[in-house]
Structure formats: C-alpha cells, structure tokens
Assembly symmetry: C2
Homo-oligomer: 639 residues x 2
C-alpha cells in the first residue's frame, strides 16, 4: 500500500541524507528534497546518465509505469526516469552522480606568475559617533565621512542594497560597523555595511564558466587561499552541447533568458550554495566575483544576444563588459558585490584565454611561448610579450567525453590512463579516485590513440586491425551500432561485468576514434598555422603551456605520439591546469591583474583559420596518426 | 439570467471605454479591464470615495449580495463595493474619480529662478565603421571609441541593459546609432543605444512624491517644456495616512516592501503609463528621472527602513541617496536611465524642501525670505543665502481634505473659494472646472475660517454662533455625528440636492473647524519660532514664498485673516506652486541645479520645535482666530 508520505534515505559517499516525499515522486526530485544535487546535464530527459543511482530498498517504477522489482539486489537506474511508489526507500548515489564539491587540484600554485596579496576589496572596522539631536547626519554620510578620514574616496559610491542594510547594521553594532570597500580604476565602492567587527571574514569567488563544465572556487581574501571548490556541468548542456548550437538556440529573447538562467541560477548559484555551506558562511559574505569564460559563455551569462558571434564577421556585443554589481546579474552573492569578467580578445578568443595568458605570464615573458587551451574548443596563443598570434580551433567536446560511446569527465571512476600490450592487445588502466570504472576521460583517450597506434592495434587512418585483434584478444573485439544506425567495430577496454554499472562495457569504437582524430587534427593544424603567421618553427618554441580541464591528467608523450602537440623536447612543456579559473583567482587576490588582463586582451593578432589557404591541407594531414607529414614527428617516426 | 460574459461601457468625461467581464466582477476590476484607472486611496475598502461611479444600466448588487435596483435612474455607488450581476451594463465615471492626467498649472514658470537649457543627458547620432574580419571590435567598444573622439569620457560606463540592446540597435540602423549619454559629477554613462537617428526624441520625468499626492511631469528635454502631467493619490494612503503611521507600518521587511511597491508600481509607474500613452512614446524613451519628496517618502520609495526617522534623534539612513539606475528601483522607464533624488537636510526637512529652496532662489538671494511649504505637513525655511533656519511643523493633512467631513483635493468639482454674507450668513462659492460640487479643498477651508470669523458666524475659539445662525439662515444649520459618535453642529455650504452625488450636503462642522485650527496653529507657531531663532521680526521679511499643492488656490488675505501666515504687506508674498516638482523639473533641464541642491541641502540649521520652550505657548495662542496675541495681526484687528 502506498502511504501518504514516504520516508527515504540517500546513501552518499561518507554520509546519508533523508527526505519525505509523496508517492510517485521522481527520484531526482526526491534527491533534491534531501539536499542532494545530482549532476544532470540533459534537462532530466534520461540522456546524460548524470543522475545514475542504485535502488536498494523500496518499491519503484519507470516513468511509464513499468515496475522495477529489486529482487533483493541493488539496481542501477537513472533518477530522472524512475519514481518511488512505496516506502520506506533507500537509494545509493555513486560519487560520479554528485555535483563535485571536492575538486582537488584546480589551480596549479607551482606555476602561477609572481603575485602579491592585494585584493581590490578590503574591510575596515569603524567606530562611528552616535547620532544625537545635534548631529543628525545620515547613517551613510556618517560612515563615508569616517572613510574619507581613512583616505577612501574622493567619492564613495553607495548602491541601494548597502543603503538598505546601513540602518540595521549601525544599530546592531552600537555604531561600530565594518565597511567593505572595492577600489576599481580610480573609483571607490562601499559594497557592504555590517554591525560590529567582521574584518576577519572576507571572501571572493573565482568562476570558470566552461561550455561543458563550470567551476567555482571560494577564496579567503585574508589568506589568499582557495578554501572550497565545486564544479558541475554547465546546465546549458541540457539544451545543447556546443557553442554553435547555443548561439542558434538563443535566437529569441525567451530562449536567451532560459540559457542565462541555466548558467546563473541552475549552475553557478547552485555551486555557490555548495561552497558556502561547506565553509559555513552566507551568500552575503562573498564580496567580489571574478569570472572567465569564452565569449559566447560570457554573452549568455550576461543575457546578451550572441547571434552575431555565430557568423562573419563574428562580432561580440562587447569584449570588455562590466564590471557589474552582482544584483544586476542575479548572482547569489552580496547584491552589491563587484563582479569582474575577464576581457576577451575576439569572438573566439575569449576571456578564458586572457586568464590563461595571465597565468602563462605573456605580459612579461621574452621567451617564445605556445599556449594551448583545450576545453570544449581549443584556443592557441603563440608569441611573447612583444607579439602574440591567436587562433581558435573548433575541436569540439570530444576530449571532454561528449559524443563518444564511453566518454566521461575527469572525475571519480574515470579511466585517466591506459596502456595496450603490443603483443597481446590486452589493456591496463588506472582510475581516478580508485572507484569502479565509469568511462574514459580525455587523457585516457589520448593514451588509447598513442598506444593503439604504437602497438599496431589501429593504423594511421584510425581503423582497428580487426583480424589481428580477433586473433590475439577476441574478447576485446565487439561491434556496436552508432546513433546513426551504422555498425562500427570497437575495442573493449573494460568488460561490462567490471564496470561501475555492471551492464555496459567501456569501449572505444572506430567512430569514437574518428571523432578524436578530427578533434586533435584541428588543434594541431591550428598550432601549425599560428606558428607560420609568426614565422617560427616548432623547434623555436621555448615553452609550451597546456591549459584546460583535462590537461592535468594528460600523458604528454601520448599527446605528441598521437599527433596533437608539437614533437619538441618534453621538458619545454608546462601544465597550468584550469588557467581560466587560475587567472580569475589571481585577479581576486591581486588587483594589479585587472590592468594586466585589459592589456593582454588587446594584444593578440587574431587569425581566421578558415581564411588561411593552408589550413585545410594541414587539417587533412593531421587527421592521421600522428600526421601524414611524418617529418613533423621525428621522435615518433624514430620508434 | 446571467450571461457567461457581460458587455460593459464606461462613460468618461469626453470619451467611452468598453470591457467584457464575467458576472459578479467588482466594478473597479471591470474598470481596470476597460483601461480606466480609478483614483482609489483606501485599498478598495470603501473608505476613500475615490471610486465613486454612477450606475446607468445593468443589474448590480452590493458585495454582501444586496440588490441595487436602478428604478430607471442613475445611482451613485463606490465601485469597490459593488459587483455587476447581469449585462449589458453602463457606468458613468465622474471626473473626480479618475486619476488626473490633466493638471493645468503645476510649475509656475513665472517664478522660476534663472536657468539655461543644459540637461545632464544628451543624445548624439553616430555613424560607426561596419565590422569586418579585419575589424572585430565589439559593438560597445565601437561606440565608445567614436564617443571618445567626440569628447566623451575618459571612461564611459555601460550598464547591462545597454549592453543588451547594443547588438540589435547596431544592426537595425545599419551601424548608424543614437547614443544617450548622462554626465554626472565627472562621470559619463552611456544609458541607451538606439538604431538610426533619434536625437529629436529625448524625455525626462520630474516626480513629486507627496505623502498624499504624487505628481509626474514628462519633460521634453529638447525644448525644456513640460509636455504631460498626471497625478494621483500616493497609493500608500491605502495603508495609512500620515508619515508617522507609515513609519510604524513599515516596521517589517514585508510591509516596507509593500509600501515601496505601492508608491513605485501602483502609483508612479501607473502615472508614467498615463503620460507616455498621451505623448505616444515608450517607457524606454524616458532617459532621466528627477524626484523629490520628504525624507520618509524617499526612504519608502527606496525600500530603506524608515524606523529611525520616527524617534529621537530622527536619523535618516542617508540624506544624499543615489543617483541610481532605474532598474534598481523598479521604475518603468529605460532601465539604465539615471535617477536622481533631491538631497535632504534632515529627517523632517526633506528633498522636497531642497527643491523648494532652489525655486525660491535661496542659493543666491540676500533678501530675508520665509518659505512655507504646506503639504501633508508644513516645512518652514527662513533666512537668505548667508544663513537659513529650518523647522518642520506636523500640521497633518487637513488642508488636503483628509479627516474632514467634506474635504477633497483641489480637483474638478472642488469648491476652491467661498464668501459668507455677514448679514444673512448665506454663502457663495466657486468651483474648480465648473463641475457639480463634490467638497471643499484647502483654499476654501481657509476662506471659510476667515469669512466665518469676520462675519461673526464663528468666534475666535472656532465655535459656531448657533443661535444667530438658526435665526438668520436656519436651512444652513445642521447636526452630524462624528466618527467618535459625538454630535457636532455644522454649517451647510451646499445642500445635498445641489451636490455632485445629490445625497450628502457639503458642510463644515465644529469638529472640522477644530482640526483646521490645529493645523494652522502649528504652522504659524513654527514660523514664529523659526523667526525668533534667526532674531528677526515678521516685518523684516522681504519675501514670503508659499509652496505646496494647494497654495495656488489660496486667498492670501484669508490665510492671514485666519492666522496661518504673518500679517505683513501682501505684495511681499509669492506663490511658487508645487516647488518640489518645479525643483525636480529644473534639475532635469539644467544640470547645474544638482550642485545647487547638494549645496542648499547642507545649509539650513534645523530647529526641533518640541525642544523649544516657547513653542507650546505659541501653538496654544495660534489655535484661535486669528491668534490670542491680536497684536501679531494688526490688519485683522483693524477690521
């Protein structure tokens, strides 16, 4: 019998959460009631797998009414497709279905350029004269007069939310208040008034708005340290994957607003909720926000029509938007907090790349440097402080796992490296966080291409040697049907019974390989063309800086072997991790970075790959392993 | 039989409006469906009479179900208390039940100080270079670069709404755009981008936020002329009448927000809707807003807690709030329009008085000047450019018609002057707009007190000579029961059958007289105490400036005779009308007025009447006609 209210328990890694729901509640909604945020990316349409959970106890049914008997053992389902019919119920949530609030390495502090702890915002504790009938100065004027004595000004700008909080704050602290101030390009903003002395508590938020993934880091501006980080899919992914389709989707004001809310409210504000809960602070305690993302993401974040980014001449509404007050943007931080966006160079060389350039120290270096940021797309900067060439390579989200049979983000359960035995074609792999395998992240895909090529499992064109595979290791050969109904041969990396869901094998199909060759081919060809414009050979490069979400797991030798990156001495390579986040972080802790960003964003000469007559040729050659022009990869040829 | 949909017609002065409603719709809701805005002030509780309408045709019932048969003749009812049961129906709306969109004299242009047409906002038409693959400057940077060539800057601030409108505007006009710019204290704001050349169209809005009445004037900033004006009750009146009760009401954040919405959305935005419809422009065409009001009204308008204005030491959150962007405030004008508030001197000497002081030219005059602004309360400024004394007199809203048996605002149908024959005690009156009489406005109340005193109808203490009245003019004597159940004698000014509603006589009771004597007594005593602080006698005054909504109808001789204003040569008096609106208007058309206001707001020394030992005595004397100290009114004594 159904009860009016069902008691439910969610088992999470290391803790539990409880809820009460009515019968026939969807599991993702029940999870939300329990305060559990599942990492859904498809708009809860059963497509992304981000809400996979294990049913342990209770009576459940599919949305279409089909019963889902447990028969005494756990059953994995998608939480968006299943309702609970009777309780009490118990559900296990695997780590990879949770929005990640425990990213371990997001900013590589070892490779940051020199900086000093000097945020644009500061707090000051003030003892105000108490008002009397002979001193009826307004609360705000009372505060700004004392601030002027402390050297703030000449004008101090006060916005409505601060005006509103002044009267209670003044009385709460018996006319002892703490003022938060933001200095910005000669201007001075009073952004918060609190009662009493709260000078020890001052936080900022650094945000990387990726096309696929959004990362928020909470920064303690007293110590300069990142104290909390959380990441999730950019919820816009539920509407469309890549930037081009998002530009198309946003063609009406309603859809534009929908995408804006998906990234601001459904993604960033949710992540803010996670980091402040963990830190034990309130949204109002976040006094400044520094964001970076590509130009399309910034337009959508701001609710600005991106249409004209989508066609020649690729025109942004602005490359230097803001700063803004948080309330204007709907961000769940203090409404008067100043929000800065990393400035962009051009439509497809966005603020995320400017942030990378800060971290890669383009502002001061004389060394010829190649920066490659591989996210959903790949952007290239090559040059030094005197001259910089920029190119955008539309690689697509393959390395982030999108569109591949078994691709996943680099999170718990992801296979992040693998080796193929060239004699047996057998395979060994390592996993992130030692969880049961859920799929391949970008670094493992690169390993696969390199290892499969070196072992002879695939040829230069990316085709599996099916005969050899069947002969040496038949259990790793399978066939699957693509979305388009085509049969494609595939190599099984993890058999079904060893995977996290126990149902589907983790594999790499010829269709997957083709998608990866396209992606890496675009990147390599873009680097070639950019180098040509600068008039330099690969061997002239003094530094190659790799930025982007998956670069921290990448095996450099694999990436060169499969022909994505130049074949130069490996010690010239550096990994900076999420440069977009790191640059945003630097801007929060060191106010001089704002000027550096503004300077760097203006510098690069942007080349349009499609207008370069040599690009198509270079791309065609680069879609082979490692490249049709074998001379470009001497160390690979030598093997 | 009720039909599913009832057809209805509203007869308005000079036009008709139609609607379709379901049976049992309240008449005020039906009116709203027809686009007719009734001037309700009580929250539709049947208390204010602002929705009085005449039922002409149809079947109607009181809210409690009691039928209201028409018996072939028109029947006056309150639209908030009556539903329509069957149609088709026809309803006549008298002029005084409509929100007024036709105020005739709101700014007395003859008495404005010297000004020049130099608004803080301007429009400039720009021909932009078209973008190309070789010129991918963002739309905004493309615009600001050209603006810099025209001398705008150095920094040009661009807010989110402008960023959002830039891409479509640039394409609409083929890269010919019109930029609206606001200069403000060294800063420069880009507040609008339109496609094409719209330089001929530039509007601002001047707003007087009174405790009882709100007036909005649309100003054509190309000509400097007021082109539309509309006024209505401040809808906060529906919750409570005076400033003290509004401070109490706003004690919780929810009630504060309720009062904010009542003045912003239910009052100002509705008036904006009226003026733009009449002018044939859109809300976005209003590029700047200049407001003035008393300090409590400004706090409520901003949604800032006014609690501390309500008790010693009468502390405002700010005397100099803003400027703000319109979007922050929820005003229905262009979201990036700059909104300036007249700065205040102190809790009870608000921005409305600063605006008066601009119009009265306190900034430059050497002449000893008395300014009296009689609105819901009365504020006094006395002095010249060298020294100014300010006092706030809590006179209450009696002269605005609140709390009197037959008081009304100075609008169509109001009796605005009257004479009493000292032999017959008979009465003659004049009406605003020649409509049928609906009540007495403030100027007629003052006439009544002066005439009744001079004729002997009332004595110095404000009591009717009932014996004489019964003997000479018995039809003008009546008795009515006050709200408190007390019997009070009354003088009938208009018999019931001659009034607009044909039901209730227009009269003045002894209770009404007592209320008016209190009000005028506070004002006169406040003037006396302020003069004493400055060390001057009444005869030293070179100018007396009368400001406020009803001053334009006032008979000066009556106002002196009944003891409200000093008995000095009448030619020293000036009327400036609605100085709060006029000052706001001047600030819109002449940007130098902003600095003048900031200067003037800081100057007055505020005296607290209740702390002055002589105030109570002066007040007690001033509650008689004209005053216990007859020597203060030599010209009255001479009669």
């Amino acid at each position: 019998m159904s009860e009016a209210i069902l008691q439910g328990i969610f088992d999470l890694p290391g803790k539990q959460a409880a809820c009460q729901v009515a019968p026939n509640t969807r599991l993702i909604d029940a999870a939300e009631r329990a305060g559990v945020v599942l990492n859904v990316a498809c708009g809860a349409h059963g497509a992304c797998g981000g809400c996979a959970v294990d049913l342990l106890e209770g009576r459940f049914a599919h949305l279409d009414g089909e019963p889902l008997p447990l028969d005494g053992k756990a059953r994995r389902v998608l939480g968006c497709q299943v309702v609970v019919e009777a309780g009490p119920f118990r559900i296990r949530v695997p780590r990879h279905s949770l929005v990640s609030a425990d990213e371990k390495v997001v900013v590589d502090f070892d490779h940051l350029p020199a900086w000093r702890l000097a945020p644009a915002i500061d707090k000051i504790h003030l003892a105000l004269a108490r008002p009397s009938l002979l001193d009826q100065l307004g609360d705000i004027e009372r505060i700004t007069a004392v601030l002027a004595e402390h050297g703030y000004g000449p004008a101090i700008e006060v916005s409505l939310p601060v005006l509103r909080e002044a009267p209670p704050a003044c009385r709460l602290g018996g006319y002892e208040v703490t003022a938060t101030l933001a200095r910005e390009d000669g201007r001075c903003f009073l952004t918060r008034i609190e009662g009493g002395d709260t000078t020890a508590r001052l936080f900022g938020l650094a945000v990387d708005i990726g096309t696929t993934t959004v990362v928020c880091s909470l920064v303690d501006l007293r110590s300069g340290r990142i104290v909390q980080t959380a990441s999730s899919y950019n919820q816009q992914v539920s509407r469309c994957n890549d930037v081009a389709s998002r530009i198309s989707y946003a063609a009406t004001p309603e859809k534009l607003e929908e995408l804006r809310r998906l990234v601001v409210e459904a993604t960033i504000n949710r992540l803010i909720g996670l980091v402040i809960a963990r830190q034990g602070i309130s949204t109002d305690d976040i006094a400044a926000v520094s964001l970076a993302g590509n130009t399309v993401m910034m337009h959508l974040f701001l609710g600005v029509d991106p249409t004209h980014l989508g066609g020649v001449p690729f025109q942004p509404a602005s490359n230097l938007p803001g700063p803004f007050a948080a309330a204007e943007l709907g961000l769940a931080v203090h409404p008067a907090a100043r929000v800065e966006l990393a400035p962009a160079t051009a439509a497809y060389v966005g603020g995320d790349i400017t942030a990378d350039m800060v971290v890669a120290n383009f502002a001061t270096t004389d060394e010829l440097t190649l920066l490659v940021d591989i996210g959903t797309n790949a952007e290239i900067i090559v040059g030094n402080r005197n001259r910089m060439i920029a190119a955008a390579a539309p690689a697509g989200p393959a390395f982030e796992g999108q569109g591949l049979s078994c691709g996943v983000r680099a999170s718990a359960g992801a296979i992040d490296s693998l080796r193929i035995n060239s004699d047996t074609f057998d395979c060994q792999y390592t996993l992130i966080d030692g969880a049961d395998p859920v799929g391949l992240c970008g670094s493992a895909m690169i390993d696969f291409l390199a290892q499969a090529y070196l072992s002879g499992l695939v040829n230069s064109a990316g085709r599996l040697d099916i005969d050899k595979l069947r002969a040496r290791c038949p259990q790793r050969l399978t066939t699957l049907t693509t979305h388009h109904g085509r049969q494609t041969a595939a190599y099984v990396i993890v058999p079904a019974e060893q995977t996290d869901d126990g149902i589907r094998p983790i594999l790499m199909s010829e269709a997957d390989i083709a998608a990866l060759l396209q992606a890496k081919g675009v990147i390599f060809a873009a680097i070639q063309i950019a180098m040509k414009h600068l008039g330099h050979k690969f061997s002239d490069l003094k530094r190659v800086i790799l930025a982007g979400g998956f670069a921290r797991h990448i095996d450099l030798d694999s990436a060169v072997t499969m022909g994505m990156l130049p074949d130069i001495p490996r010690e010239r390579y550096r990994f900076i991790g999420n440069g977009s986040l790191a640059g945003s972080y630097l801007r929060l802790v060191d106010r001089s970075v704002s000027a550096t960003m503004a300077h760097l964003a203006e510098r690069p000469e942007v080349i349009e790959l499609n207008l370069d007559p040599e690009f198509q040729d270079a791309y065609s050659c680069a879609m082979f392993l490692p490249n049709v022009e074998a001379g470009l990869f001497p160390s690979v040829a030598a093997r």
